[in-house]
Structure formats: C-alpha cells, structure tokens
Assembly symmetry: C2
Homo-oligomer: 213 residues x 2
C-alpha cells in the first residue's frame, strides 16, 4: 500500500495531504468512519476497511481509539453537541421569533448539506451505543428539539406542545432528506445554494401550515 520502494513497515511514511490540521489522523479516521458507517451501516463495516480508507491497516486504529464503538460514540456525541451549540448560538443572536426560526432552519440545512454522513448516522445508529453514550446523545438531541419547539410555539402560539414537537420531528426528516436525494438521473441535481434555498422554503412552508386550516 505504501508507495516507498523499500516498503518498510513503520514510520510516518509521507504526509499524504501535508499541512494536516489539528489532530490530523484522528480527524481523518473519524471522517472516513462516518462515511463508511453511513453508507453500509455500523455492523456492515469492518475495522480493516476503516483502516484501509486512511492508509493504515486494521488494528493500527487502536492507537487512536479504544475500539470501534468509541468512533461511533465520538461521531454521534460530536454532531449532537454541535447541533445544539449552534442552535443556541443562533437563538441568542437572532431578533424576533420569526427570525430565530429562520436562522435555525438555515443552520440545520448547513449541517445537513455539509455533514451528510453524520446526519445519516445521527438518527440511524443511535442504538449501537453503550448505555451512557446513548443517554448523552439522546439528551443533547432532546434539548435541541425542545429549543426548536419553543421557537415554533413563539411563532405559532396557538399550537399545542405535542403538535409542535411532532412538527419539528417531521421538519427534521424533511431537512435531513438530502442524503437520499443524491444522484437522481442524468445529473440534474440542484447545486448547493439552490438546494439550501429550496429546503428553506419547504421547511417554512410546512411550519406555516402547522396551525390547522
């Protein structure tokens, strides 16, 4: 696999992408693991495969993570936490409730378009976590949902809490649909900004219909 002629075993080899950002190898592993987990499922991907994706082989991963579960855990805790943090930041920065909802939608769309594998994993492989990690992720997710529910009910005060929560879940499903809509036919897929704009309109359209006829 290594490109050096002597093909010795250890060492840094060559810095494949050079100029690695902080935590290079770890981040690289997490990125590839997310991609693989999303496309073939947590149980459908072997550690050898993840290793191969970053240029090392199999058990070398255990120098960076205590186990396969730990990679998934870090991915899910990470995305849940970042979603919540960004959501809170946006609520604090926005003006009235309408602007806040608008900003929340845009923020979530950014995640959905930029981190598709993570968004996929986020509601698909949660059950594969250890109890403590699953509890943490669920707590972060719940806080994020409640944040949205509060804002939705400020914009539409006559909507019951249960209805608002169900609507928020439904809109999440809408916004997270991008992983499924890739590669339709000859290649006539909207580009990023067009897709973001479309999703934004659809989400707000859905919310505006939440309050009965």
């Amino acid at each position: 696999m290594s490109s050096s002629v002597t093909d010795q075993t250890g060492g840094t080899d060559r810095g494949d992408d050079r100029a690695d950002r902080a935590g290079s190898r770890r981040e690289q592993i997490l990125r590839e693991a997310a991609r693989l987990f999303a496309s073939r499922g947590f149980h459908g991907v072997g550690v050898d495969e993840i290793g191969a994706a970053v240029g090392i082989s199999g058990p070398g991963l255990y120098r960076h993570f205590p186990g396969k579960d730990a990679m998934l855990a870090e991915l899910l805790v990470g995305i849940s936490g970042r979603l919540l943090a960004e959501g809170r930041r946006r609520r604090a920065a926005a003006g009235d409730a309408g602007d806040t909802l608008d900003s929340l939608v845009r923020g979530h769309i950014d995640f959905a378009l930029d981190d598709r594998p993570l968004i996929t994993l986020h509601d698909r492989e949660l059950d594969r976590l250890r109890d403590s990690d699953r509890k943490l992720v669920r707590q972060l997710q719940r806080q994020y949902v409640e944040l949205w529910v509060e804002v939705v009910r400020e914009v539409h005060p006559h909507v019951a809490e249960a209805q608002a929560r169900a609507a928020v879940h439904a809109v999440f499903g809408l916004l997270n649909s991008t992983p499924h809509s890739a590669v339709p036919r000859g290649g006539a897929v909207p580009d990023r900004t067009a897709m973001a704009d479309l999703l934004h309109r659809l989400a707000l359209g859905a919310f505006s219909a939440v309050g009965g006829e």
Copy 2:
C-alpha cells in the same frame, strides 16, 4: 420456550394466535423480521433472534426462506411494489391534480403510520440486497417518485423538474419521520388520526411553498 409440559420437538404445537391469516408462518416471520431489522439493523439481528420472535429456533427459518437476505429482499420489494401500486390506483381514482396530490399524501401517510418498520427499512437497508433485487427495488422507488413529480408539476406548473424531484424526496423524509418521533416524554403523543392530519397539513404546506417566494 414451548408451553407444553412434555416439550416435544416437532409439530404444530398450539396455534398461538389461532385464526391465522393466509400464509401464517411466512407472514409472521416477515413481520417480526421487519420489526427487528428496523430497530437494530440488518446485520445487527441474528437468525436465532428472528426465530425466537416467532416461537421457533434458529435454523427452522430455512424451511420458509432460503436465507436471511431473502427475507429482507421480500420485505423491500413488497413495500416498494405496494407503494407504487397504491399510488397508481389513487392517481387513476382521483379528480384534478390537486385532489390527486392530496390523495397521494394520504396514501403515503397510511403506509408510514401502519408499516413503520417497513418504511424505515425502505431507505435504510437497500444496499444489503443482491444486485438484482436492489435494481428492482430502485426501479420501483424511482417510478413512485416520478409519479409524484408529475403530479406536483401539474399542481405547480412553473416548478422545474429537478426542484420538484428534490421537493418530493424532502416531503418523503417529512412523512417518513414518524418512526423517529415516537415516545417523546410523558406520553403526550398525538393519536393516529391527529398525527395523520398534522402530517397531511405539513406536507401540503411544504409543497405550496415549493414555487419560489
């Protein structure tokens, strides 16, 4: 596991639910397999587990299916085919384009609420199929999507095809969100008809916003 005192090996034992509908054992196996696959993933469920869920043990399943893959294939082909057939039936039965879209939404909601595990599998475990089965399922899915796209573009003629297709995928994500929204807190989840009504409003609200500001 069997409740008879002598606990002999073979035989029909007792008909657990009596009055079995047609293809009792097969259908029962498929139902339980769908539930298990949806909750823990195809690779996360063992054949012993599926067997235990229907009261037989492990390899007894091979009297009904040639393998574990075959169960998943039958489930996915079945749901895809039924979605498409019902969609076509509804388009033929409905009046103008607006009524047709309305009926399509209601029909999809029925599937989403009544066959949650299948809806979950439908866009989650597709890659685990043999090439021929996957091709078939994808073809059925594509035809179903195109059916919706045509109707959406009749209702909103100024919407480009790519936009309409992306919007249809997004609304599918919205309608299929029900599996994720179960068990929120103390139990304040909308009942079936309220949920169906809410999803219906949200979907039509989204579609009405698809055509620009």
